[in-house]
Subunit: 462 residues, 2 copies
């Protein structure tokens, strides 16, 4: 470890060079006009992977933006690690309130500011720099390494399934390592052992074939599609915030005693969080703590609703239709497909009189879970702990990383999510940033982790 | 009557001339660019009123488009009739499916086609032509007559209250006669003895100060404003279509036996009505017939709703706010102001946790009612019946004519609503039309009515 520390110290002045060059390429996957930059960014990373000593560097194509693959698999009888990251970023406009240009990174007070500084270029380069460092010092790696760096994370990993299906053997590994999450403490990373999945649908309610006058001759005898939708939604979640669709909670995984304990040990300033979003009180299922509601319990939210007249003033109509967008965050042990059929059944049973109802499903991502006692995870915890001064928390996440669950399920491998972000990193927001100190420590901690994994012996496959 | 009949027969070829000229002026009050035409139309009618022998012809100004006033008050000891009508029309575009230009009236198969042919230029000219006919034959009128013809009916009679307040004495009369409604039968008019009023409000629900990610770190602990709105709306009307706001139905006037009888005698083809609007079943309060639901029972309808993301695809947010437009059709004996406070109280009591709720009231029109046994009304019924072959129905209306209630209440006079329209007149729709035969019969019937009213003796005021 001392050798690594002194290597990092010696190279301190150039450590961020590639990250900064990479941030300068506005690889925004959601914006069509950024197509050239997307490929420029992928090319940049591809070249860097070759340069640091990785092999078989190539694009894997699933029909969308390519994923970059690379490997180094000469550590005989050692575990194989698949590292996942993404090179696409969220859109960013200087005008939105950035102090410096989002695509001209600037270092202020030991923080790198720029779009992608944390999500995910910053966290990706922590991984790449760790590999580079190990190569530089040992001329080899302590474990077998495979990388998959996709370009569609910010648009929902649209073609990731195709890529995985086409390259199952190439991507197979003993564990997946991902740095694309965050921690609750600014100064230390966290390890995330569970993520919620997501399912979403659009519900349309059709009443009469046109907007009707709300007075004569239909005003009082026709079901109002907006009201029909209100009653249908009301049947799905009650006033206390509890989802009332029969069977919805059936498969929700209960917390183990260990999980409960580690969850209770985490303290959050609810007052500060309330202040941040300007609400006077939080709301949710009774009997569950703040973090249980966000991490352990599924949700059902209306993301958007529309129907009838929305202009200025009054327009006394019974509108012809109404529609709503709904997403559910689903939790470990719940299955998207099962819930879709449970919800569909509930809707069919509760169609209000006098209207037609249609359900259209959007994409579905299953939740992710790894037992917090998993040896690969505990090894990561120890490796990080010995580098960072603060204890590293074991947490869950309320959000979804589609690719994690896809890789985890399709390739049947445990995943270790090491998150170096924090809410003040302003991921997806203005002035996204990353601590230079954390960047350096992360490289050290990841080297430490891979060295520790390298001390494991794996039976060679016949 | 024979004298009138032969006068109308003699003048048959010129009877529609003024109506047709008037329809040619596109007096659309909702469209700003029609301002000149609005005044051109008012001038046209003003000139015509003078020409037929009415006196004191002038504009009454309330700050918007002027109302036209005229009178003839030389029938000593006879009742004074205030006739209301309007010269503004709904917008109309040839491209919408008009067979002939909406503002170049055409007579096809004995029907006049053009915007305003029924609403209200056609029905207004029935009244004016009746006055002209009586003048021509008798050189005087059998009753005292006052007219008020406004230009803002189609935009909610915005300045009618001001006009009435400023000219109370001038407008005072023994009864109000209005031809701006319709009948259920094509071949005969109907007399409408009750109209619903309307109250409307906008309800806004504010949650967090911005759209939140529905995953971490708020996804499960924040009240969703759309769902809060759903629960609030659900508390206002139940799944059976019954308004569940305490006290809402308290003042609803019950039907008398006579009313029940006349209502039950009216037959409607519900199948045809369902087909027209493309619904498989009607919906509404159990225990009430179709016409009771539309005429006698109040309603609460959501006219429009919006909140959150409404674009393509999924956007997994908890939106910051949601809003809804609501109108209630209110029925005789209910008071708009009372209901506003009842609704406001209910909302205040039911504000969901974790959100702010705001209510903004729009305009309010009270319902109108005259006892169907009222002598002025029965006289009208007899006068119409003797001219039209079919029995004239006593009906109510589900809609609202703001000015009727304003004049009725402010000037404390009974109102007789004689409706010559029919659903096939296509009022507010394409190819609006009026039967030429009905136009002629209407003039005859109205002359008959005014002659019959003229047989009444009224004590001269001291």
């Amino acid at each position: 470890m001392e050798q690594i520390k002194s290597f990092l110290l010696k190279n301190k002045s150039t450590l961020l060079d590639e990250l900064i060059e990479c941030i300068q390429i506005p690889s925004i996957s959601t914006v069509r006009s950024s197509k050239k930059d997307m490929y420029r960014c992928a090319d940049y990373i591809k070249a860097y992977l070759s340069q640091i000593g990785l092999e078989n560097v190539q694009y894997l194509d699933g029909g969308g933006y390519p994923a970059i693959y690379a490997d180094w698999i000469h550590a005989k009888n050692k575990p194989t690690v698949l590292i996942y990251g993404h090179y696409d970023v969220q859109p960013a406009e200087s005008l939105d309130g950035w102090i410096s240009d989002p695509f001209l990174p600037e270092i202020r007070d030991d923080y790198v500011y720029g779009r992608g500084a944390t999500d995910n270029k910053g966290q990706l380069f922590m991984q790449l720099k760790a590999i580079e460092t190990l190569f530089q010092i040992h001329e080899c790696l302590p474990v077998n390494v495979k990388l998959i760096i996709e370009g569609e994370e910010e648009i929902g990993s649209l073609t990731m399934t195709e890529i995985i299906e086409k390259h199952k053997d190439r991507l197979s590994a003993d564990l997946l390592v991902v740095s694309d999450t965050g921690s609750l403490q600014k100064d230390a990373p966290a390890i995330c052992y569970g993520l919620r999945g997501i399912i979403g649908f659009e519900l349309s309610v059709q009443g009469p074939n046109r907007d009707l006058h709300s007075g004569s001759i239909y005003g009082g005898v026709v079901q109002n599609p907006i009201y029909a939708l209100v009653h249908l939604l009301n049947s799905m979640k009650n006033e206390l915030g509890v989802i009332s669709i029969p069977g919805f909670y059936d498969d929700v995984q209960l917390l183990t005693d260990l999980e409960k304990e580690s969850l209770n040990a985490i303290s959050l300033s609810e007052e500060k969080l309330k202040e941040d979003i300007g609400v006077k009180q939080f709301f949710g299922e009774e009997g569950y703590s703040f973090l249980e509601r966000v991490w352990v319990r599924p949700t059902l939210e209306v993301n958007g609703i529309e129907g009838g007249y929305q202009g200025e003033g009054m327009k006394s109509i019974i509108p012809e239709k109404a529609k709503v967008k709904v997403t559910c965050r689903i939790v470990p042990n719940q299955k998207g497909e099962v819930l879709q059929s449970i919800i569909e059944k509930h809707i069919t049973k509760n169609i209000p009189a006098g209207v037609k109802v249609e359900v259209e499903w959007n994409k579905c991502s299953n939740p992710f879970y790894i037992q917090p006692e998993h040896p690969y995870l505990l090894k990561a915890l120890n490796s990080l702990q010995s580098v960072f001064d603060k204890p590293v928390q074991l947490i869950r996440g309320g959000g979804t990383i589609a690719a994690v669950e896809m890789l985890n399920q399709s390739l049947n491998m445990p995943a270790v999510l090491i998150g170096f972000g924090h809410s003040s990193s302003n991921v997806h927001s203005v002035n996204e940033n990353m601590s230079v100190e954390k960047f350096e420590k992360a490289i050290l901690a990841l080297c430490n982790y891979y060295l520790s994994l390298g001390s494991d012996h794996v039976e060679e496959e016949s």
